[in-house]
């Protein structure tokens, strides 16, 4: 009788501890979303900054830009610049 009582206690204890363990684990998983969200936000921020810097780098190293700067500094004549950037050519749609 006493053995059965101990067995029941052990089983109840096991059920209880598993339930608590499960709750802790679930809680950890669900709250990790906060950190994940923060981390993802930070990653996105750096991604954006990286993209902006890449764009600036490409613009700075474009021959179009280099020749424009060289022209402003008096190294080449204005005729050298031929790409369409802002002004529109004669052929633009009216």
């Amino acid at each position: 009788m006493k053995k059965a009582y101990i067995l029941v206690i052990i089983l109840l204890g096991l059920v209880f501890s598993l339930a608590v363990g499960r709750s802790i684990l679930q809680n950890m998983l669900s709250t990790s979303g906060i950190f994940i969200g923060k981390a993802e936000k930070e990653i996105n921020f750096y991604k954006t900054q990286n993209a902006i810097l890449s764009e600036e780098l490409l613009i700075a190293s474009a021959l179009t830009n280099i020749i424009e700067k060289a022209h402003k500094s008096g190294f080449v004549s204005g005729d050298a610049l031929m790409v369409i950037k802002t002004s529109r050519p004669l052929a633009v749609r009216p």
Partner: protein, 558 residues
């Protein structure tokens, strides 16, 4: 009192029946809807847009790439002060108040206002903390060199289902560049925060692949600059230049004017989108003479020393009187002299000796009348008229490049046989492709045909060197270099006759003549300072050739 027991019992049974019915309704009948509702609360479907591949020039510089921009959207139900919001957005985004206001209907939850907003501008708007305003990240095509090589690169535009490449490389390699959308599912906690361990991918999407071009950015830039100067100097309507490596078929530069800006393609007339170098047809005039002459030499019908016995004056063919371009005639001139003087009558002599069948056979071998299969979208190739429709006069005029229409790329490719020991390489712009995993696949070069023997090609090259040294364009030739080339002043057919006042002038040639590094075709459309190629296209050719020889570090050999 006895009735109470059955009454309570019946009541409880009824209650149970009701509960079970309700449970049946929710658990069985509405089960699917409820599970979908539950899924929508904790599961999110994420669409990851692929990044379109880059197009890189031979030095690895991305001439077309994608940059991160933002789409501004508004949830009208969250707006607190509509007038203030409209005013702020219209001034920040440079759009009219009316167009913003018209979109803000109260029954809509998500209204896109403007796309392509730069990151700096987005940060500026975010700082204002306007209620109801949000941003969605997107990729926008970005061309760091602005309109440079616009016709070659093409552009990207929305087609209703997403973005799509049009014309040029963007159009031809659309499938490789666009990539594949990715979808993944993530579970969220009760506050909508993502649980990373549960994210699963639904398909194998990937970013677009990168393309490596044979295009040399510096040469392209130089050519566009020289083209602009040439068009202005010779007061032409437009022009184009193509440069190819005859040994590989690699396109080193290809420029046309007028052009357009790929980033703002919608501001330009649609007719400007086409690359005239592969879509415009014209009568090549004298630039076709070396091909006809080489065919006749290759067929063993003539030699460079063969004398023209009809060159003493105009000739009549099928009732049409044919003249030289300047009405000067050279009695008993040989084939070297025919090319040197660009003698139409001499070419009539050659063409009539060649005959229609061999003319068609050789032109076909040179790739005239069929697509070159260059990897650019939009190439056309006018086909020959049927054999039965060829008359003697057609044969005669084809000899000096009239009555036959070709595209500039056809001529450049055909002519490359003279610079490559008689072999024609398939012209190409893309030399390698890099997939999303970083694996690079090189595209092999391909010989499309061998219309001439190497001996004939060498003989013809010498004839062309002589034409440069002693021909009409000798005044502009480069001292110290042996360059093979030929001028071409093509008449423009208008309403059944040729326009006497306007021409298409061109010069085609390669250098150095012994081991050509490049072959170049310069075309000017209706120059007005002079209608002759020797005064317009030829000096442009030699001006660019001088810079190219210096760029490639090739010293003079004389």
């Amino acid at each position: 009192m006895k009735w109470r027991y059955p009454f309570v019992f019946s009541f409880l049974v009824l209650l149970f029946v009701l509960i079970i019915s309700r449970l049946f309704y929710w658990q069985i009948v509405k089960a699917e809807m409820l599970s979908e509702l539950a899924l929508s609360q904790y599961r999110g479907l994420i669409k990851v847009l692929p990044k379109r591949g880059e197009i890189k020039t031979s030095d690895g510089f991305p001439i077309a790439t994608s940059k991160v921009t933002y789409q501004l959207f508004i949830n009208p139900t969250e707006i607190k002060n509509k007038d203030q919001t409209v005013l702020a957005l219209s001034s920040l985004l440079d759009i009219t108040k009316a167009s913003v206001s018209a979109l803000l209907l109260p029954d809509r939850l998500w209204v896109p206002i403007k796309s392509g907003i730069a990151a700096q501008k987005k940060e500026e708007i975010e700082k204002m903390q306007i209620p109801g305003v949000g941003f969605e990240e997107q990729y926008t095509r970005f061309y760091p060199e602005a309109s440079a090589a616009a016709h070659l690169v093409g552009f990207v535009a929305g087609d209703g289902t997403g973005v799509k490449g049009y014309v040029g490389i963007e159009g031809f390699y659309e499938r490789l560049l666009k990539g594949k959308e990715r979808y993944s599912v993530e579970l969220r906690d009760s506050l909508g925060r993502p649980i990373i361990s549960s994210r699963t991918s639904l398909n194998n999407g990937s970013d677009g692949g990168n393309l490596f071009l044979s295009l040399d950015r510096s040469v392209q830039f130089l050519v566009e600059q020289k083209l602009k100067i040439g068009i202005e100097k010779y007061e032409a309507l437009g022009g184009m230049i193509g440069i190819m490596d005859p040994q590989t078929g690699n396109i080193i530069a290809m420029a046309s004017s007028p052009a357009f800006s790929p980033a703002e393609y919608w501001k330009y007339d649609e007719s400007l989108y086409k690359n005239p170098f592969i879509t415009n047809t014209y009568e090549p005039g004298s630039t076709l003479k070396p091909i006809i002459m080489a065919s006749a030499i290759d067929a063993g019908i003539i030699t460079p020393q063969t004398k023209c016995n009809i060159c003493e004056g105009p000739v009549s063919v099928s009732g049409y009187e044919l003249h030289t371009w300047n009405d000067k005639y050279y009695k008993d001139t040989n084939m070297i002299g025919v090319i040197q003087h660009s003698d139409n009558i001499g070419m009539v002599f050659v063409a009539l000796k060649l005959g229609v069948d061999r003319m068609i056979e050789y032109l076909t071998k040179f790739g005239i009348g069929k697509l070159t299969d260059i990897d650019l979208q939009g190439e056309i190739a006018p086909s020959f008229k049927p054999r039965s429709a060829w008359y003697d006069v057609d044969l005669a005029t084809t000899g000096f490049g009239q009555g036959i229409s070709i595209t500039p790329i056809e001529l450049l490719t055909a002519f490359s046989a003279l610079a490559n020991e008689g072999k024609i390489m398939k012209p190409r712009v893309v030399t390698a492709f890099e997939n999303a995993n970083g694996e690079i696949h090189k595209i092999p070069t391909k010989v499309t045909s061998t219309p001439l023997t190497s001996k004939t090609a060498r003989v013809m090259t010498e004839i062309l060197v002589n034409a440069v040294e002693k021909g009409e364009a000798q005044w502009t030739k480069l001292k110290g270099y042996r360059i093979a080339g030929k001028t071409g002043t093509a008449s423009i057919p208008v309403k059944g006759h040729y326009d006497p006042n306007s021409t298409i002038t061109s010069f085609i040639g390669f250098a150095p003549a012994e081991k050509p590094k490049f072959i170049m075709l310069v075309i000017l459309n209706k120059p007005t300072t002079s209608i002759y190629a020797a005064d317009t296209a030829a000096p442009m050719f030699f001006d660019i050739a001088a810079d190219l020889l210096s760029y490639y570090g090739i010293p003079p050999n004389e």
